[in-house]
Symmetry: C2
Subunit: 102 residues, 2 copies
DNA sequence: TTGACAAATAGAAAATCGTGAATATAATAT
DNA sequence: ATATTATATTCACGATTTTCTATTTGTCAA
């Protein structure tokens, strides 16, 4: 998983906001259309649209347009990718080194 | 892994900033003292201190004081916890439901 | 084509975040 | 005790983010 630091930061922005976390929890129940999400969150439609854009940009959520409705769902592949990126960023491959004392 | 949405958001703030991602990458080489991190990043000491606080609050990084030096390292347990929280937030346990069309 | 509805975009206000200068605290050395 | 060094905290400022209102775009039904 090679990703620029910028892209990595963007990816995890998905889970850095309480409303987006709520949205993810709602989507765990399966694909939902935007209007349903809107009913469950106390935010306006443009605000939801903004958050969905961030979630889709992270690729953890995918959107599907059907007529005038947008359906959103969690992408298991996207979620796995995020976990891979997180792992690649947090496993320790060294012993550390001493610097200040000797 | 039960965590409030607020706590979850805080946890992933660790990986939402490019400098913090750089810091994690440096810590993958093992425990480092703050002064070494400071040398490798083009930020001031108070800024580093600020980022280290966010990283430690997320519990992905732990700090250890030794004399006047602070040593930081990645906590594998903290990283695993973050992955568990992320998983708990992104696995899909439902089929979704239809709302707008029938 | 017109009207109605869903979602996206533009623009602006408010809140949050990242940053550095100045200062404070803590630990060591003289 | 005083000086020095490493880190943390405080404060202020600019940048970014979240949010809203207003508007636009896209789609379907009369």
């Amino acid at each position: 998983m090679e990703l620029s630091n910028k892209k990595t930061a963007e990816m995890f922005k998905a889970v850095c906001d309480e409303n987006r976390i709520k949205i993810l929890k709602l989507l765990q129940g399966g694909e939902k259309c935007a209007c349903v999400l809107l009913d469950d969150l106390h935010i306006t439609q443009p605000t939801l649209s903004h958050h969905m854009k961030i979630l889709c940009d992270s690729e953890i959520v995918v959107g599907r347009k059907e007529g005038k409705w947008m359906y959103y769902s969690i992408s298991p592949e996207g979620a796995d990718r995020a976990i891979s990126v997180f792992r690649a960023l947090t496993d320790v491959h060294g012993q550390g080194d001493c610097c200040c004392k000797e």
